[in-house]
Structure formats: C-alpha cells, structure tokens
C-alpha cells in the first residue's frame, strides 16, 4: 500500500502531526487498511530524509514536543503527489490471489471436493458482502455529510464490487466445472437434460 503517497496527499491540505494524519486517513478508508502510528512516523522520517516533507514550526516558531511534531509538504513533495494522481496504478503484476491458486490446485489434486470448496468460499464472501453492505447503510457512509464520508463510502463500494466479482467468478467456475463433469458431490445431481428443459421454459 502506498502509505507514502497517501500521507503526502493528506499533507497537501495543510501541516499535520502523526496522529492527525492517521485519523484523517481512517476518516476516508475506515479500518480497511489499518495504519499504526509507528508506521506513520517511520514513513514521515523517510519522507523528511528524501526532502518531500519538512518539520513545520508552530506560531511561536517551536516545532512542538515529540508527539506533536507538525509536518508540511515541500515543493518536491507536491510534485510527487501530483505524479501519483496522474499515473495509473500498475496492473502488470497481479497480486497473488490465494483463492485462485487454491481453486487451481483443488481442481487438479485428487480427492478434493471442489464443489464444497466453491460453496464454502461463496458463503464466506457473501457474509463479508453483507457486512460491507451493513456498513454502507448505517453510520456516516449512509448519509455522507462531509467529503471524507463520501470517500469512505466509495472505499466500501470498492470492497463490495470486489467481493461481488469474486462471487461471480466462483459461480462461473462452478458452471464450467459442472459442464466439464468435474463436480460430482456438490449437490444432488439432476439429469442435465431436465435442467436444460427448465431453462428453455423460462
């Protein structure tokens, strides 16, 4: 995750200290990608080393105590944020997908009930979808007042669409495996011809 760019982008709004950055980040993303405050400070000191942020003085010229060191973005930092927003997120190297790998192996390893693997995963993914949807219809995502609430509801939508895509892919795998005759014990089988008849009737 690009904690670096995210923090820089937040600092575009004005100088902030570590705890503030973390809470601003979570305003927009919920607990989806939890960020600990140590990680925030480590990232800030790297950004400072690279000249992308600098300590910002308070009104009295002091930089505050350790826990309240304010940071502000520098011109090179602004340039990096703007480049981040301009460049698409690369998709050349798909992240490792445990489910796709598991299914690819389940299909080839003998003695695995692939139908059960698919059904269990589908149930689990739909449960997660129900949770995301519950968050969407309650709390600040349901009636966004600030633009940060809208951002958070869009992150929830991303989780919803991602989980939905997974369920659709599982449905698709199940249908293809059935056609290929690779699913034996998923459910009571119906003669294929009868199922087709019913399909045609609709």
């Amino acid at each position: 995750m690009s904690v670096r760019q995210a923090l820089l982008a937040l600092l575009e709004q004005g100088p902030m200290y570590g705890y503030q950055l973390r809470s601003e980040f979570e305003q927009r993303t919920g607990a989806t990608w939890p960020l600990n405050v140590g990680q925030v400070y480590t990232t800030l000191s790297r950004l400072e080393r690279d000249g992308l942020v600098e300590k910002a003085g308070g009104a009295d010229g002091s930089t505050g105590d350790d826990a309240h060191v304010m940071y502000k973005v520098t011109d090179p930092g602004r340039a990096e944020v703007s480049e981040w927003f301009t460049m698409p997120v690369p998709r050349t190297q798909p992240p490792r997908d445990e489910l796709a790998i598991k299914l690819a192996l389940a299909v080839t390893v003998s003695g695995v009930d692939v139908g059960a693997v698919i059904q269990q995963q589908r149930s689990a993914t739909i449960s997660a979808l129900q949770d995301y949807t519950r968050l969407k219809r309650s709390g600040r995502a349901a009636t966004p007042e600030a633009v940060e609430d809208l951002a958070w509801s869009l992150v929830l939508d991303s989780l919803v669409f991602g989980a939905e895509a997974e369920v659709r892919w599982l449905d698709h795998c199940e249908a293809r495996l059935r056609r290929a005759g690779e699913l034996r014990s998923a459910t009571r089988r119906v003669p294929a011809a009868a199922a087709d008849d019913e399909e045609a009737r609709r």
Binding site: A31, R122, I126, Q130, T133, R137, D171, T187, E199
Partner: protein, 240 residues
Amino acid sequence: MSAVLQLSDVTRIHGAGATEVHALRSVTFAAYAGELVAVMGPSGSGKSTLLTLAGGLDQPTDGSVAVEGTDLGALGSKGRARLRRTSIGYVFQDFNLIPALTAAENVALPRELDGERSRNAGRLARAALEEVGIGDLADRFPDEMSGGQQQRVAIARAVVGERRLILADEPTGALDTETGEEILRLIRARCDAGAAGVLVTHEARHAAWADRVVFLRDGVVVDETGSTPVDALLEPGLAR
C-alpha cells in the same frame, strides 16, 4: 415468533413422465417479520418458482405454503386472489405498471379491487408514493417517468395497505447500479419497519442487503448464510 411466509416441504414438478422437471424438491423456507431474505441461485435453480408459489400465483405439487398462518392451498382461487391483494406485495423486474393509469391510480388499483372506496384508496396511494420519495409524481403516467421512478411506483403499489409480505423478483435488474441501490434501500426500509421480504436475485451485491441469503441449486437449498458480523470490518469509532 411465527413466520409471515412459511413453505413446508414444498415440491413443485412441472410436466410429467419423460419431460418431468423438479423445479423444487422438498424445500422448507420461512421469512419472519422484520427480515429480508435473499434467494440466490443460477437460472433453473428454482428461485423464481419459489417466489411464484409464495405469492400464490402457482400451486405446489406437494407440501404447503402459508402466508400469515393461512394455508394458501386451503383457499380457493378467489380467496388466494384476495390474500394477494391484502397481504402480499409483488415487485417485478419490469415494473408491470398499467400504462394508461397514473402513478397514483396504479398504486390505488389493488385497494380499489379490494373494495376500498376510491377516494380512500387514492389517499392511501398518495401516502405510499410519498413514502417512497415520489409524492410529487403522483399524477404522471409511467412513460413520463424514469425506470427508477417507475420501480418506486411499483414498490408503493406493493406496500400500500400495510401488506406484510414483500416478494421481489430481480427488482433492480433493469436499473443502473445507483438507482438499483435506492430500490434495495426502500425494500430494506420496509422490512426494518416490520414487513417480511423475499428478494430473488442472481447478483451477490443485491443479496448482501438481506439478513439471510439462501442458495438454491437444482431445486434444493444447498446453503444458507446468516449475518454474523466480522469484527475486523468495523469502522473505527462506529458504535455497535
């Protein structure tokens, strides 16, 4: 708590002999007041059959269907039609509004058919349209409204007169994602207010609005997902 909708050991066979199709096989299914249940499954899994049986539009080959404790099989076709008008609201994918009637007249129709005085039925219809957020469109005809607005009219028609069972068959199928979501929000709100809802869909994103998701495969319930929240997904600071 008694179920608003109760299917007990329901089997539905279409045709006979060599072309016999078991659309449902000994399915037991219930929907309680205040909950929305989604029924998912591929085409031909029996999910639409389940809904038409629940709505009294079709009869089971075996087993029984009860709505608010009344066995639909024990009623004649007249009695079933009456129960459909008073207790059951149906929402279809293609809205099924009558083009020659205004929004308010479409919503009032089931009440009038049920013998309600037309003035009173009109008043109830306007209140129902208000409730789904389109009170100002009461005098429009269906072809003067967007798809989302037409579906709102259909929902008003399904809930008018305090009906406690809402049956929805792919209600968001013809709508874009955001409009579809508003429709689900309305159905959900109706269930939160005490109705029992059954939502048939093949889209997981829509099923996720339900409290329970039931999976049908070849006419059999193969799985059921409850609604135990996963703690890790909680929004920080959100009181639960």
